[in-house]
């Protein structure tokens, strides 16, 4: 999993996201941003840093996003509840209609859980996340007390 997340950081760096890398890997094959975003929705809950990077990219590239393509791909192989969180958070900073359209097709997680898996694994961190859960995450059935805009 660490390898996949590292590759996603490389891809976001190539797509212009503010990623601090030890070294850029020239062998990373370019992919459409929508494809990288869909894969990222599967890994956001494993990495806060990855979540804030893709969120920043979405905010800055709303005009470049093909919402129909992103939705179709996310339904096939991504996570619609995580995409909902990302679009909701992006909307707070950049109220572009594309985020509203995307959110209207996203679905909350099936049950209320901690957003980040590491937080869920720590009794102290999960208690704090539950006590200070942000409404934005609650809308998507997640508990999370942190939201970072880069």
């Amino acid at each position: 999993m660490e390898d996949q997340i590292e590759r996603l950081f490389q891809e976001w760096h190539r797509l212009g996201a503010p990623v601090l890398l030890a070294a850029a890997d020239p062998s990373v094959t370019p992919r459409p941003a929508e494809e990288v975003a869909v894969e990222t929705t599967r890994y956001c809950r494993h990495s806060g840093r990855l979540t804030w990077v893709v969120l920043d990219w979405l905010i800055r590239h709303a005009a470049d996003i093909s919402d129909s393509d992103l939705l179709r791909r996310t339904r096939e192989s991504g996570d619609l509840s995580v995409l909902g969180v990302l679009c909701d958070a992006a909307w707070q900073r950049n109220p572009d209609p594309v985020f509203r359209r995307l959110m209207s097709s996203c679905v909350p997680h099936a049950e209320v859980v901690s957003f980040f898996h590491r937080v869920a694994a720590s009794p102290l961190a999960s208690r704090l996340a539950r006590e200070n859960a942000l409404d934005l995450f609650r809308r998507w059935n997640y508990l999370c007390s942190e939201l970072r805009y880069l």
């Binding site: 806060g48 840093r49 590491r118 937080v119 694994a121 720590s122 102290l124 961190a125 704090l128 942190e146």
Partner: protein
């Protein structure tokens, strides 16, 4: 750090200080960093971390309690 400067006093953060700050913050990325930092902590650095916890206790009992709880109950340290 003593660099012979007249007006500046420089301090460096060691691993124990970083760990203490990350436990207090306890964001997802801090938990990720703690996974890397805690296993490589030397015995001497472990003692420093416990001293930091005791040092901050009168100033920020909530921070000290957080550090104690995390190390004791989640990481299995036997803190007296």
């Amino acid at each position: 750090m003593d660099l012979g400067l007249a007006r500046l006093r420089l301090y460096t953060l060691g691993k124990a200080e970083q760990i203490a700050m990350k436990i207090v913050a306890l964001r997802e990325q801090d938990l990720e960093d703690l996974e890397l930092l805690l296993p490589e902590l030397l015995e001497a650095e472990r003692e420093i971390l416990l001293r930091i916890m005791q040092h901050v206790a009168p100033l920020r009992p909530d921070w000290a309690q957080k550090i104690r709880y995390f190390l004791d109950l989640e990481r299995g340290w036997k803190i007296k």
